[in-house]
């Protein structure tokens, strides 16, 4: 897939709770082909304390509006700067990067999409793509409390939504791996994105249950192009770049102790 450097125009940039923002970015040219699970490297301008680009996963592609959506948690200087962008500002992005999820592997299968925290971001695009390809997605999303669950309505519109919260304020109480659906129903494909402990817990469940499982990693990254070799993860075949060999890996490729 050809990569591009594009100056997107901010169509809107809104606080969506849990210290996160949803940025809708209009592409001045027709959007390039982008797969769910791919990401962009955004350049942070006018912030002298930020030197490198920031890798951000793609939340959704609105083909009609020719917009790319980024759901970003404001955790550091770079992401906080993104929160200050206004409608009409430009955002320089290198896009699309990474391998993306294997959606072909979902065909004819009962599919579960698990997301935690801001890791729900790529699941919206994955779910809507699967739906277009004829697979009905079930989302299982975890959050600390009710107010921290991002894009609830959008997920409800896209597929069946199951929720766990740690305090029980919405859905079932506990972690995603505690949800009753995992013991009551049999899935045969799982996709996960979220904090590493959550991904490992879900991967462990999938491995035990013999379910094919893909996880999306978010290692610290510089170039995003497979050049600097900073973002590597351990795999069965040695170090691999999360930016180009990933960010999505089948759990069988990794060396996780699960």
């Amino acid at each position: 897939m050809k990569k591009h450097i594009i100056d997107f125009e901010v169509s809107s940039n809104e606080e969506v709770g849990n210290n996160a923002i949803l940025m809708k970015l209009h592409c001045p040219t027709p959007l390039p082909e982008i797969k769910p699970g791919q990401f962009v490297e955004v350049r942070i301008d006018n912030e002298p304390n930020v030197f490198l680009r920031r890798p951000i996963s793609i939340n959704y592609i609105d083909k009609k509006a020719n917009e790319m959506w980024l759901l970003v948690q404001k955790v550091g200087k770079g992401t906080n700067k993104l929160g200050t962008l206004q409608k009409g500002d430009t955002l320089n992005c290198v896009v699309p990067l990474g391998n993306g999820f294997d959606t072909k592997a979902a065909q004819g299968k009962k599919v579960l999409l698990v997301g935690g925290g801001v890791g729900v971001a790529p699941m919206l695009m994955l779910g809507s793509t699967l739906k277009e390809e004829g697979t009905e997605p079930t989302f299982l999303l975890g959050a600390r409390t009710k107010n921290m669950l991002l894009e609830k309505e959008l997920f409800e519109q896209t597929g069946r939504l199951l929720v766990t919260t740690e305090d029980g304020s919405l859905g079932e109480k506990g972690f995603v791996t505690n949800h009753s659906v995992l013991s009551n129903e049999k899935f045969d494909k799982i996709y996960v994105c979220g904090p590493t402990p959550m991904m490992k817990a879900v991967a462990g469940y999938a491995k035990k249950a013999g379910i094919d499982c893909e996880v999306s990693l978010e290692n610290k990254m510089a170039c995003g192009l497979g050049a600097c070799l900073c973002c590597v993860t351990e795999t069965q075949e040695g170090h691999k770049c999360v930016c180009t060999d990933g960010p999505v890996f089948n759990i069988n490729e990794l060396t996780w102790q699960i």
Binding site: R43, F51, N219, K220, A222, L225, A227, V232
Partner: protein, 301 residues
């Protein structure tokens, strides 16, 4: 259009802009963003005799106007490069230069000898300055006797342009450069990364797995510029300047300080199309000031 051609010790480049090893992969990773043939030279990722897995993750820390890396020369080894990567580079009409690293003098010479046999590769950059491997690397580049030994040994087996990449982590870089020149280097390139360190105060832990690593990026430019100027005054062979070049003006400063060519490194991560922009910017500068050739500004300070 000014004459941008420059010579770095027997090797003529179509323009003075090259890519720094380890920041541009094998060039192919950037082919969507730039016409690789418009770059003066592509110095590919550090290559060793045997495959190396490199250091454990995390390998990266962002620092003010820069970054620290501790990749540790991860590469698939010279034979893999010759069999799988180089065939993809043969059709390029720019100079491809292999950065050669090693653990021992025998490693360096064996690797250089293999590269010497490749018709399309007309130069190597001998990396005696990597701060991120336990043995070898930088330890070869910090003392005059070691520099003489390793450069002399490689000179015997490598018949084309031999560029020696120097570390800034020394007391007197001019002395090291002179040692490389005396041992047969055709050119020296500098600076490799500065040894640095980053700590996460909240976690009370170092940020990268090896604790220390190599600092690069805009923040190192003044140090690099000073060293290039010192070395250019001390040796007769051409000097290749690098360290924190982010735009054409930075590159021009290195040329003025005495560099016959420059390498762009960390800036490739922020703008993957920066190389050609810098080459065009140098041309525009020469035209604007009425210089006919880039050679007219090299080392005027």
């Amino acid at each position: 259009m000014a004459d941008l051609t420059t010579n770095i010790g027997g090797l003529t480049l179509k323009n003075p802009v090259m890519t720094a090893s380890g920041t541009f992969g094998f060039g192919l990773e950037f082919a969507d963003f730039v016409d690789l043939n418009e770059i003066g030279g592509i110095i590919v990722k550090g290559t060793t005799l045997h495959k190396r897995e490199g250091n454990p993750y995390p390998r990266l820390a962002e620092t003010p106007q820069g970054m620290i890396n501790a990749v540790g020369l991860q590469n698939k080894g010279v034979d893999y490069f010759i069999e799988h990567t180089n065939p993809q580079l043969k059709n390029l009409s720019t100079e491809v230069i292999v950065n050669v690293a090693g653990h021992s003098i025998d490693d360096y010479t064996a690797c250089a000898e293999k590269i010497n046999a490749l018709d399309n590769i007309h130069a190597i950059e001998l990396n005696i300055s990597c701060p991120n491997v336990k043995e070898g690397g930088m330890s070869f580049g910090t003392s005059v006797p070691m520099v003489e030994k390793v450069v002399g040994a490689v000179r015997k087996v490598y018949k084309k342009t031999l560029i020696v990449k120097l570390t800034p982590n020394v007391t007197d870089i001019a002395e090291i450069a002179k040692a490389a020149e005396g041992a047969g280097a055709d050119s020296v390139s500098l600076i490799n990364t500065l040894m640095g360190m980053a700590i996460d105060a909240e976690k009370r832990k170092p940020i990268i797995s090896t604790i220390t690593g190599g600092l690069s990026g805009a923040c190192v430019k003044p140090v690099a510029l000073r060293m290039v100027w010192q070395v250019a005054k001390a040796v007769k062979i051409p000097v290749v300047g690098l360290g924190g070049i982010m735009n054409a003006t930075d590159a021009i400063e290195f040329l003025l300080a005495g560099a016959s060519a420059v390498e762009i490194g960390t800036a490739n991560f922020i703008d993957p199309a920066i190389t050609v922009k810098v080459a065009n910017g140098i041309n525009e500068y020469l035209d604007r000031h009425g210089f006919k050739s880039v050679k007219d500004i090299i080392g005027v300070i």
